[in-house]
């Protein structure tokens, strides 16, 4: 299997803190890869660097065989690289449907004069809204949804652009167990439809059920990777989590 995403020697510092430090790893196409590690080990920062939200101090990012280092997040999004945020970022004052349409990756300049939500737009959202059980909330303001449902909405919305790789930042955190299970089902069904995933998650049972391989990050760089049972048995991983 070829690598859909590869990062090579990435580094990012904030003042004195080096959040990501000489980090190299790859995500093979067709996998659900997990990225785990203690708090502050640089997982979110790595997502920011991969998706173009932040520029690395050093190193390169390759997506689908192309060097995309330094490209803006919008371009990468349209190229099929999308993400969700740890804190569920949706547009709170927009309706659920509008959130979906905003994430559809339009050729915006050609569409500026078309209706805010055209009949065609609405039709495009229908299947996903049904899949994510959001049809009944379609015309509600996103701010009115529970936190868990906002996370579902954010996930559903980035699928509007038919991405090849989706990065999920802690999809199960702060979500009730029923929705966690639904989140897992959505990842599975989208994976079956050909989408590759890179998932940051602290809920290790979620990770062990769903992901293979697992990459462990500590202090900004990978310290172990492999299938879930191998990683679980790796003493370095225990050290990182327990040694502090």
């Amino acid at each position: 299997m070829s690598d859909l995403l590869r990062v090579d020697g990435l580094r990012k510092s904030y003042g004195g803190v080096t959040a990501v430090d000489d980090c190299s790893l790859a995500v093979a196409e067709g996998t659900v890869t997990a990225l785990i590690g203690p708090n502050g080990s640089g997982k979110t920062t790595l997502f920011d660097l991969i998706t173009g939200y932040r520029k690395p101090d050093a190193g390169r990012v390759f997506f689908a065989g192309q060097d995309v280092t330094g490209r803006g997040p919008g371009r990468l999004y349209r190229a099929g690289l999308s993400r969700t945020f740890q804190q569920a970022r949706v547009f709170p004052q927009l309706t659920v449907v509008e959130n979906m349409v905003a994430a559809a990756g339009h050729r915006w300049w050609r569409q500026l004069a078309t209706p805010r939500v055209s009949a065609a737009d609405r039709a495009r959202t229908e299947a996903l809204l049904a899949e994510f059980d959001l049809t009944g909330d379609a015309d509600r303001i996103a701010a009115e949804l529970s936190y868990g449902r906002r996370k579902l909405l954010e996930f559903a919305a980035v699928l509007m652009s038919t991405p090849r790789l989706v990065l999920l930042d802690e999809p199960a955190a702060g979500v009730n167990p029923v929705l966690v299970e639904r989140m897992e089902q959505h990842v599975r069904s989208r994976h079956a439809a050909g989408v590759t995933f890179l998932i940051v998650e602290h809920d290790l049972s979620f990770v062990m059920r769903l992901c293979d391989p697992v990459i462990v990050l500590d202090a900004g760089r990978p310290i172990s990777q492999g299938d879930p049972s191998a990683v679980r048995a790796d003493p370095r991983v225990l050290d990182a989590y327990l040694g502090g």
């Binding site: 939200y53 919008g74 999004y77 547009f91 509008e98 905003a102 500026l112 805010r116 939500v117």
Partner: protein
């Protein structure tokens, strides 16, 4: 749509009812501020970038108009100078493009500072470029040759036209993908950029259209000043404050909010000025109103009402 038609027709017949001059004069200013507030709303309401510099563009429109007529000795057809409005609007919109491209790279709070700085730069220029603006002596041009007993009418109707234009642009924006793009800017600009939404272009477009409209209103205001404009009135921070206040009162980002805000505040102010004579009293009133809005109606009248009804 029906509401819009009733609104426009009502306003269109008002001047024909033989109202006294002071009322018509008041209505001219009400329409002027309704158009200005609607224009400001395109930026301040829809994108959430609070421009404090719009009075600069009002002044640019006013001076552009006065300069175009300055060399003429008389105006034969009073309607003819209005033909300059589209050129003034488009020209100022084009000036707005690079300004927005620079000022809107910043966040909303920095943007407010940058735009208010622009306002004071333009004000200083208006006072000091004697060769161009005449400085504090003012800039003169021929008086509009309209009959005295219906003098307000042409200005009234042209301002009504500009208000309708501003409202149609707002309506079209809200109903189109431009409005969706601007709403994402207002909601979470970084996220919007990450979704490939052209946030920069959408912001610049909104700003350019907004200042173009503002300049056209400024031009009509200049023409209404019977033959001379002065810098302290052409580039007046109070104009900006009024625009902002009206939009905040009526409801940011709504179609009717700015109009409602302008009708309430401007009639109130003109009436008080007429009853009490010109005074700075209304400045205190403005400050009070702003505090009251922020305390009790932080989203403005219309969104709060809509929230109650739902």
């Amino acid at each position: 749509m029906i509401r819009g038609a009733v609104f426009v027709v009502t306003l269109a017949v008002l001047p024909l009812l033989g109202l006294p001059h002071w009322v018509l004069n008041m209505l001219v200013f009400v329409l002027m501020f309704a158009a200005l507030a609607s224009a400001w709303n395109l930026v301040g309401g829809l994108t959430g970038y609070p421009s404090l510099g719009h009075a600069a563009f009002f002044g640019i429109g006013a001076y552009a108009f006065a300069l175009l007529l300055h060399r003429q000795t008389e105006i034969t057809d009073g309607w003819q100078p209005f033909a300059w409005l589209p050129a003034i609007g488009v020209g100022t919109a084009l000036i707005g493009v690079p300004i927005a491209a620079i000022a809107m790279r910043t966040r909303a709070d920095v943007f407010a500072i940058v735009t208010i700085t622009l306002l004071f730069v333009v004000q200083t220029l208006a006072f000091n470029l004697h060769g161009l603006t005449g400085g504090a002596q003012g800039l003169s041009f021929p008086v509009a040759p309209f009959p005295a007993d219906t003098f307000e009418r042409p200005f009234y109707y042209v301002l009504l036209g500009l208000l309708v234009l501003a409202m149609l642009l707002t309506f079209g924006t809200l109903r189109s993908k431009v409005g969706l793009a601007l709403a994402t800017v207002r909601g979470d600009e970084d996220k919007a950029r990450g979704l490939g939404i052209p946030v920069g272009g959408a912001k610049v477009l909104a700003f350019a259209v907004s200042v173009g409209l503002t300049a056209m209103v400024g031009a009509v205001w200049a023409y209404y000043q019977v033959g001379i404009i002065y810098p302290q009135f052409a580039v007046d921070p109070l104009v900006t404050i009024a625009m902002v206040l009206m939009v905040f009162l009526g409801g940011r980002g709504t179609l009717w909010g700015p109009v409602l805000g302008a009708f309430v505040l401007e009639t109130g102010q003109q009436y008080l000025a007429y009853e009490l004579g010109a005074s700075q009293f209304y400045l205190i009133a403005y400050a009070m109103i702003f505090l009251l809005i922020m305390l009790f109606l932080p989203r403005g009248v219309l969104p709060s009402l809509a929230g109650r009804l739902r």
